[in-house]
């Protein structure tokens, strides 16, 4: 019998919840009901005349990535009524090195939207029989952007156009071929933001709203040159402006508090534009009851309840369905271990502990996870 059958697991091979492995796991966000409700509320408000501009902060393993996946799940499947257009969710884990700057950010955001998508948007305006350049000039002030977007739909030069639009430095010959006067970003980060906001307006014409979900923003801390940090502050300050409501973003960064995030994300200039209520800290699961609720909710979702009930009954296992595959004692013991050290009461640890307990019981061919197993595993995970 396989592990999944042994523990009546539903649509999964293990107890691990990870939307990067199992896409359907994006629908879960267990426990931490207050964080969940705050984010849902802020999302709903943010679409009234604006777009979400949020910063999620929490320690490693606190559930930030899961929250980003959950937000994507909500926006795609249960969009708030205030969101009138189809969301175009661009999810990316940011890459930043010591010498990275705003150009690297812009490149990654643009690559996240992708050349094909932007080309299709431009082409669909052209297909409407409208004068493409005229239409683009209504959106973009910078004539260079207009020229690059027009060339994006022309074979032979479209790759050069995309490289320009993503902020890569072109040679003089390439600039001439493209019919632009300089490289994008030469004047400053603001013009890159103007371009991406314009791309957002282009998306709106097609009926879509661009929302970036940016994970692993702690990597901004790798940047050590003041010029680059200042340019990134400009980039985020501009992008956070209310007037730039065609593009939204939700950033998740590992940090114990706002002070631990990259300086340019935490400045007043950026946070006040985002709105202080949109800076959300995901804390460890606070109390024993919350941990119990987390585990109960998780098991109820990933264990096939009908099958488990049958197995409990037929094998006379003497445990309740709510705690299965734990018995009452081992369930309590796990919850106590998980909540004894506040910084360790995080979803990643709890899920890993449950999975390791399961593997240990499976090795010993035990249908129920005993207190002894919980004790051995919990010492490794929580102490």
């Amino acid at each position: 019998m396989e592990f999944r059958e042994w523990f009546c697991l539903k649509d999964r091979e293990s107890f691990i919840i990870d939307p990067q492995i199992n896409e359907a796991d994006a629908r879960f966000y267990f426990g931490q009901e207050d964080v969940k409700q705050t984010i849902i509320r802020q999302l709903r408000f943010s679409f009234v005349g604006n777009m979400p501009k949020m910063l999620l902060i929490g320690q490693y393993g606190s559930g930030k990535t899961q929250m980003l996946f959950y937000i994507r799940h909500l926006l795609l499947n249960f969009p708030p009524s205030s969101l009138k257009l189809k969301p175009r969710i661009v999810m990316l884990a940011i890459e930043m090195k010591s010498r990275s700057n705003h150009q690297d950010l812009h490149l990654q955001l643009m690559e996240g939207i992708s050349k094909n998508v932007v080309s299709e948007w431009v082409a669909s305006i052209a297909k409407k029989g409208l004068n493409l350049e005229e239409q683009l000039r209504k959106i973009f002030i910078d004539e260079n952007v207009v020229q690059a977007l027009v060339k994006l739909t022309i074979g032979g030069i479209n790759y050069i156009a995309w490289r320009w639009l993503t902020g890569q430095v072109l040679s003089n010959k390439e600039l001439e071929q493209l019919g632009v006067t300089r490289n994008l970003g030469q004047i400053g980060a603001g013009e890159m933001v103007d371009e991406i906001v314009g791309i957002g307006k282009l998306a709106e014409l097609i009926g879509e709203k661009i929302i970036f979900l940016i994970d692993e923003a702690e990597r901004f801390l790798n940047i050590n040159t003041p010029d680059a940090q200042n340019a990134l502050e400009d980039y985020f300050r501009n992008l956070s402006e209310k007037k730039n409501a065609s593009v939204g973003f939700i950033i998740a960064a590992t940090a114990s508090g706002l002070d631990g995030a990259a300086r340019f994300l935490a400045t007043d200039a950026v946070t006040t534009r985002m709105g202080k209520q949109n800076i959300i800290t995901i804390k460890p699961i606070p109390t024993l009851d919350d941990v119990k609720s987390f585990i109960t909710q998780m098991l109820a979702e990933i264990v096939d309840q009908e099958l488990a009930e049958k197995i409990i009954r037929e094998n006379n296992l003497g445990v309740s369905l709510a705690s299965y595959p734990f018995d009452a004692d081992s369930f309590d013991l796990l919850s106590e271990y998980a909540s004894q050290e506040p910084t360790k009461a995080i979803p990643r640890n709890i899920i890993n502990a449950i999975n390791e307990c399961g593997i240990c019981a499976w090795d010993e061919q035990q249908k129920i996870i005993s207190s002894e197993i919980v004790q051995n595993i919990s010492r490794l995970v929580f102490e």
Partner: protein, 181 residues
């Protein structure tokens, strides 16, 4: 972006190792050992690695001192392949009593994978290739390995390798009973 299309502005996330493949993995491990959370070793045959930069006693010390949760999947000492390998049983004896180290056997194992998972994921790395964790693979055999760094598509590769080892391969194996000298 395909693996052979490096990101235009950044170094590639994967590179080919052809020289002392396993040793190169352990040298990197040594550098980051104080921030390592988990070490995953999948090698059908084991050796004491004496004469290399990471003899087994040194590896044992690293695991103990830094409290690295280690998963070792290998062939059993009674397997035809490992009976002829002089270092296999001594390695199992040396590592068998470390707290937080799990040894599992699967005699059908042929994969060779080494994964280092750090407290800060951006330091994660892995090596996948032909090389067993033996001195002969380091010094004599012609081996090749791909070193994967935790950047761009390398993140998914390392995450999936880790998931596969911890949640699939381990469930196809038996937990080893500690071998006493």
């Amino acid at each position: 972006m395909a693996i052979n299309e490096p990101h235009p502005k950044h170094p590639n996330f994967a590179s080919i190792l052809t020289d002392r493949v396993v040793e190169q993995f352990f040298v990197r491990l040594n550098v980051v050992s104080h921030i390592v959370d988990e070490l995953l070793i999948v090698s059908p045959v084991l050796g004491t690695l004496s004469g290399t930069k990471m003899p087994i006693e040194r590896l044992k010390q690293l695991i103990r001192v830094n409290k690295i949760q280690t998963y070792l999947v290998t062939r059993s000492p009674e397997n035809d392949l490992t009976i002829g390998a002089p270092g296999h049983r001594p390695v199992l004896e040396t590592l068998g009593n470390i707290n937080g180290l799990e040894i599992r056997y699967n005699d059908a194992l042929h994969a060779k994978i080494y994964v280092c998972i750090c407290k800060d994921p951006q330091n994660n790395f892995a090596v996948v290739g032909s090389a067993n964790m033996t001195r002969s693979s380091i010094e004599r055999n012609i081996e090749v390995g791909i070193l994967i760094r935790y950047a761009y598509q390398g993140r998914e590769l390392i995450d999936e390798l880790g998931y596969w080892i911890k949640n699939k391969l381990r469930l196809q194996t038996q937990v080893a009973k500690p071998i006493v000298k």
